[in-house]
Symmetry: C2
Subunit: 307 residues, 2 copies
C-alpha cells in the first residue's frame, strides 16, 4: 500500500572523519522515501527551490517515487551544513538555511489521497498536523520530531502526538519529551501522549520498539534490533530517516500488521540505516538492490538469534 | 567444570537515584562468583580484612562457593565509595581504600588446581599474570581490566592479554586499548593482542561478542545481546562482573564450546547483569533461583527473535 511522506528535501554539506562532501541531495523526506521505495510505492510532499533540477528529479524517478507533491518555487532549497568530526553519533550544525522551506505550505495532490500510510518526517508540528488532518483516510500514521520542537513547540507537538500510531525518535528525545531518564518509563509516558507504538533509535546501538497494550490487540511486545557492526561509518546523516523508511516501508508492504511484521520491520529499519551510513548522502541508497537488503536482513538474524 | 576466579572482595558504599546503602558486600570476585555459581562450581582467590566475618562468609556458603582461597589478614577489606546520581552508566568514585588489597599476593589452594576455567577479574595485571602462570592446566581463561591499567600499566596488561582466551571490557576501554574509535576495528586490534574472543559491554545497550577467525575453528560470528529494559535500575554496581559470571559460568557448565554455546552464554551474561542492578549490592543475586534465570533468558529470546 502506498505511503505519503511529508518532510524536507534539501542540500547538505557534510564533513566526517572519512572526508567532506558539498551539497549532497539530502533531507528527511529524501532518505525516507528512497529507503521505503524498496518495499512499496512512495509519494513525497515537500518544497524545493530552483536549484533542484532534472538531476535530482532523476534520483527519485529511478526509484519510482512519486514527486508530484514536490512544489517548485523561486529561491533556494533548504540547506544544512554540519560535521561529525568529534563524534559520529551527533552532528554539529554549522549552518541551517531554511530558504524556500521557511514558507512551506504542504499541498496534497489528489493522486495521493488514496494513500493508506502517512509518514510525518521531522518538520514543524503545525504542518505535520495540517497534513494529518487533510488525509482522514489514512490507515497508519507514523512520525518523527526533534529536540527543537520538543523544547520550544511542545503544545503543537502534543497535538500531533495525539494523532500518531507510531512515533520514531531517539533516546535523548524520548527522555526529554517524557521528562524521565529511565527509558522504559519514558517510553510509557510518551505512549500515553498518543502513539500506540514507539521506536526509540539508539544510533550505533540499534533501536527498541515499545508497543502499547492495545496495539493490534495481539500482545505485541518490546523488541530490540541492533545496529550493524560496521568497520567504517562514512556519513551518519540520514541514518534515522532511512531506518524509518525501511521500517514503515516494510509495514506498508504487508497485508496484515502482526507482531511478527513489526519485528521484521525493525530489522528492515536497521538494515536500511546500516546501508545509508556507508557512503556520503543518499549515494548508497541510490545504488542498492533488494537482494542486498535481504542478505543484510539475514546478517541481522545471525547477529541476534541463538539458533 | 569448576571456575577459579581471582579478584576483589570488598565493601561498597553506594548512592544512586534510588537511595543510599553503606558497606554492602561487593567486589568484582563477589559479583562474579555469585552469578557464576548458578551454573557451575566456583572457587575464589582474594584477600579480606578482619571486618569480613561469618555473615559475609555465609553469603558465599549459601551458593556453595569455595572460599578456601580467600586469605584473611589483619586490617580492613578493600573499600569503595561511589555514586551514580547524574548518570547510571558511569560511577563517580568518591573514595578508594585498597587497605589489605594493597599487598595482595594471590595464593592458590591445592584444591583449586584441577579447575579448568580461570577468570581474572579486574586487578593489577601483574597479579593476573602470576595467577595465570601458576595454573597451567587451565582449559579456558577469561579476564577483565579497566581504564587505569590500560593507560598507566600497558606493558604488564599486554602480557596478560597474550595469555587470554576471552577478554570482557566496555566500549570506552576497547577504544582506548586499541586507539581506534570504530568499535569493529578496535575489536579486531584488541584480538590481535591475544584474546581469541572479545566481549564488549555497552551498559544499558547490552554487549557484543566478537570472535576471532580461529575461535574453536567453527566459524563462530559476531553476536549481540541487548540489556533488559528495566523500569528501575536501583544500583548499577557489579553489572559487568555479574555479566561475566553468567557468561563464563554458562560456558564452564557446557561439555563442548560451540558457537551456539557462546551465543547462549551472552544471553546468560545479560540475564545475570539485569538481575544484579535490581537491588543494592549483591542482594538480588543472593535471592535468585535458577528458574527465574531461565525465565528471564526466555524474555531475552522474545526481545530479540523474529519468530
Amino acid at each position: 500500500m502506498a505511503i505519503t511522506v511529508v518532510g524536507s528535501v534539501a542540500y547538505d554539506s557534510i564533513e566526517t572523519p572519512a572526508g567532506r562532501k558539498d551539497r549532497c541531495l539530502g533531507g528527511a523526506a529524501t532518505y525516507f522515501s528512497l529507503a521505503a521505495s524498496f518495499f512499496t510505492d512512495v509519494r513525497v510532499i515537500a518544497v524545493v527551490g530552483d536549484d533542484f533540477g532534472s538531476e535530482q528529479e532523476a534520483v527519485f524517478a529511478a526509484r519510482n517515487i512519486d514527486t508530484r507533491g514536490i512544489e517548485h518555487t523561486a529561491g533556494k532549497s533548504f540547506f544544512w551544513e554540519g560535521s561529525y568530526l568529534d563524534n559520529l553519533n551527533e552532528a554539529k550544525t554549522h549552518t541551517t538555511e531554511l530558504n524556500v522551506f521557511a514558507s512551506f505550505e504542504p499541498k496534497i495532490p489528489d493522486s495521493y489521497r488514496d494513500s493508506e500510510f502517512l509518514f510525518l518526517a521531522n518538520i514543524d508540528p503545525v504542518l505535520q498536523r495540517r497534513v494529518r488532518e487533510a488525509m482522514p483516510g489514512i490507515k497508519l500514521v507514523a512520525g518523527d520530531t526533534m529536540n527543537y520542537w520538543i523544547k520550544d513547540h511542545r503544545p503543537a507537538l502534543l497535538e500531533v502526538l495525539k494523532g500518531l500510531d507510531v512515533l520514531l525518535i531517539n533516546d535523548t528525545e524520548t527522555r526529554m519529551l517524557a521528562g524521565n531518564n529511565n527509558l522504559v518509563r519514558a517510553a510509557r509516558a510518551v505512549m500515553e501522549m498518543g502513539p500506540r507504538a514507539l521506536v526509540v533509535k539508539h544510533g550505533e546501538y540499534g533501536a527498541t520498539l515499545f508497543v502499547g497494550e492495545n496495539m493490534n490487540g495481539t500482545g505485541a511486545k518490546t523488541f530490540k534490533t541492533p545496529a550493524m557492526p560496521l568497520e567504517e561509518v562514512v556519513d551518519p546523516t540520514g541514518a534515522g530517516d532511512s531506518f524509518a523508511g525501511g521500517f514503515f516501508g516494510y509495514l506498508a508492504s504487508q497485508p496484515k500488521l502482526t507482531p511478527g511484521v513489526f519485528r521484521r520491520a525493525m530489522f528492515y529499519g536497521s538494515t536500511m540505516g546500516s546501508f545509508a551510513v556507508e557512503r556520503f548522502g543518499t549515494e548508497r541508497l541510490q545504488q542498492l538492490s533488494r537482494q542486498e537488503i535481504d542478505d543484510r536482513f539475514n546478517v541481522f538474524r545471525e547477529l541476534t538469534h541463538l539458533d
